[in-house]
């Protein structure tokens, strides 16, 4: 995957629940639209300055469009990874081998929760600035992070996916 060059992004405020844009399905966008390319740059800029943040969906910065950024390359649980990237109109086309893991989210600062996620997946998407369709095959932590971000774009946070009534925990500290 060759990530196109992006303009300089602006760091945006990350929204927290409850907020309607976080619980509304985001809409498809034209990846070649200059506003989409700028949104991609803003996501990367915001992700880079947020400690511990490995991914950011557009609606977390208030834009209800199907775009997310990701970079799990420095995370110890990552196996396959695709470095720092942004995708537009992502769609999970295959997901297998569920495993439970405990997740936190910048938009849900007071809780963590156990969520089952596929550990192997294939994502179909477009890159900002191009109309070309790409496929990302990945596993482990990058697969989990992609599912977390696609959930955001569908209007869900991890609280909507927790494994049971006893699977949400108060968070002591946030980075």
């Amino acid at each position: 995957m060759h990530m196109p060059d992006l303009p300089i992004g602006t760091v945006q405020v990350v929204l927290v629940t409850p907020h309607s844009v976080l619980s509304t399905r985001c809409v498809e966008v034209d990846p070649r639209d200059p506003l989409t390319v700028q949104l991609a740059a803003d996501l990367i800029a915001t992700q880079r300055v947020s400690p511990g943040c490995v991914g950011l969906a557009a609606n977390q910065i208030g834009v209800g469009q199907r775009v997310f950024s990701l970079d799990v390359s420095k995370h110890p649980k990552a196996r396959i990874h695709h470095g720092e990237f942004v995708v537009v109109n992502p769609e999970i086309v295959e997901a297998t081998r569920n495993e439970k893991g405990r997740e936190g989210c910048m938009s849900v600062p007071d809780f963590t929760g156990d969520v089952k996620r596929a550990t192997r997946l294939t994502l179909k998407a477009q890159l900002p600035g191009t109309a070309e369709e790409i496929f990302i095959e990945t596993d482990a932590f990058e697969a989990r992070a992609i599912q977390h971000e696609v959930d955001h774009l569908d209007g869900f946070v991890f609280l909507d996916k927790v494994a049971g009534a006893h699977a949400i925990y108060p968070r002591q500290t946030y980075l």
Binding site: K77, G104, H148, P170, R171
Partner: protein
């Protein structure tokens, strides 16, 4: 505005939660943290409620709802500040094995001695298998390896297995 702990327990049936929380809402009671579950078929709920209503009026409305049924109601005003958030590292402790008297007491005694604070604990008895799962905060001043060794020793003496693992979460 005062905080109250409301505990309701007794024979389970559909509708207890709806009736109890409806009555509290009628009194302007705002539910904060709650825990509601079945323990061997008996329904138990504990609610922290903040309200301008008095303890007497809370008890009166709940007694009116449940007084003549198989449910017991306890209302207690909460005084003093909540405990400070722990600064330790969170771990999950699982203990399971053949049921016998004293498993919880022996295991939690070790945790208490190590200064570990239990923030959540559930036990279940299924057939002859006893299961304990606890979320615990271990302070930085306690050696986790040492505490784990002590837990394993006590577990071995009880003839049960124990495992301790960090409850680490990943930010996404």
């Amino acid at each position: 505005m005062s905080s109250f702990a409301v505990t309701i327990l007794g024979q389970d049936r559909p509708g207890i939660i709806a009736e109890a929380t409806g009555a509290l809402a009628d009194l302007g009671g705002n539910l904060e943290d709650t825990s509601m579950t079945l323990l061997r078929g008996h329904f138990v709920m504990t609610l922290v409620v903040s309200t301008d209503a008095t303890e007497q009026s809370l008890r009166a409305i709940l007694d009116e709802k449940f007084g003549d049924k198989d449910l017991d109601v306890v209302v207690m005003e909460l005084h003093g500040a909540a405990s400070a958030p722990s600064t330790g590292q969170s771990y999950v402790l699982s203990v399971h094995g053949a049921d016998r008297v004293g498993i919880v007491a022996s295991i939690t005694e070790v945790l208490a001695r190590g200064g570990a604070n239990i923030t959540d604990l559930t036990t279940r008895l299924g057939g002859s298998l006893y299961l304990l799962v606890a979320e615990i905060d271990i302070p930085a001043s306690t050696s986790v390896a040492e505490l784990e060794a002590q837990i394993k020793q006590v577990a071995e003496d009880l003839g049960v297995g124990a495992s301790l693992r960090p409850a680490e979460s990943d930010d996404l």
